[in-house]
Amino acid sequence: MRLDVLNHGYRPGTKLLFALIRLFSGHPVPDAAKVVFYRPDFYGNRAKEFTHEAMRGPSAWSVGDRELMAAYVSKVNGTAFCIGAHTATAGQAYQDQARVAAVLADLESAPIAEPLRVTLRMLGKLTREGKVGAGDMREVLAAGVSPQQVRDALAVCAAFNTTDRLADAFGFELLSLEGFEAGAKYLLKRGYR
């Protein structure tokens, strides 16, 4: 990563934890996970709480749907690390990598339900343009998405518009395909806390 403190500035106990994770998983700790361990009282602790609530808290959206939203928002932002991580996680959650790939290739022709498609379209516009209007929201609601589902989707959007920016600014190192799949397995088992 571009800041030396994020590569080397951890407490001895945290360094030991990273070494153990590497030993038992066979993979280095991803930079996205390292960042939340650096001075966790400033950012990591509350970021983990928020992200976990958005991605794994109660919602009418499935975990796969929310991971797909994370991948889609990351695609709009062009953040390679998060695209890789959440493409893998959505694919495992759905047990359908092809569906995720289709959404990221062309949202409009992808084989997904209309409520999810219009929600992703709205999140894409918000992320790209920085704003959406009441008309955009009425389209989403008219497709059968509840107001609470919209709020839940906006929380996912907020979480990944934060993480994407940190990934690009700090320079998260890309993982191998195998590394992303291992990370996805962990995120589905343990979540973001």
């Binding site: 571009r2 800041l3 030396d4 403190v5 994020l6 500035g9 650096y38 001075r39 009282d41 400033f42 950012y43 509350r46 970021a47 709480e49 928020f50 609530e53 958005a54 808290g57 932002n77 062009g78 953040t79 709205m122 918000l126 992320t127 920085g130 704003k131 959406v132 209007g133 009441a134 008309g135 955009d136 929201m137 009425r138 609601l141 107001p147 919209v150 709020r151 839940d152 906006l154 929380a155 959007c157 907020a158 979480a159 518009n161 934060t162 993480t163 994407d164 920016r165 940190l166 990934a167 690009d168 600014a169 700090f170 320079g171």
Partner: protein, 108 residues
Amino acid sequence: MLDGDKKRAAHRALVDRVLHVEGKASAEQRARAFNNNGLSPPLDRLIDKVVDRPAQITDADLAAAKAAGCTEDQLFELVICAAVGQSARLYEAGLAALAEATAAGEAG
């Protein structure tokens, strides 16, 4: 209704923390990074990229901010404040549009 949304509450707690906890950068600098407004060069360029075009950030952007006197811990905080600030604006914009759409629906 929004006060009952745990996700929203958790996001507010995050915003409150990065802006107000004791840090290495001043609270004033962090607020400027959060709002992407009022920072001096070259820090303003880095923070503007974090907000508007993060994929274009380069090693040189961080090196320039460090050469201008920012410590790594200060940069860690200011980049996070900028990222959280932009995500907060997006979240607010989305919720405001939803509120307008549902209010119009109820009125109609």
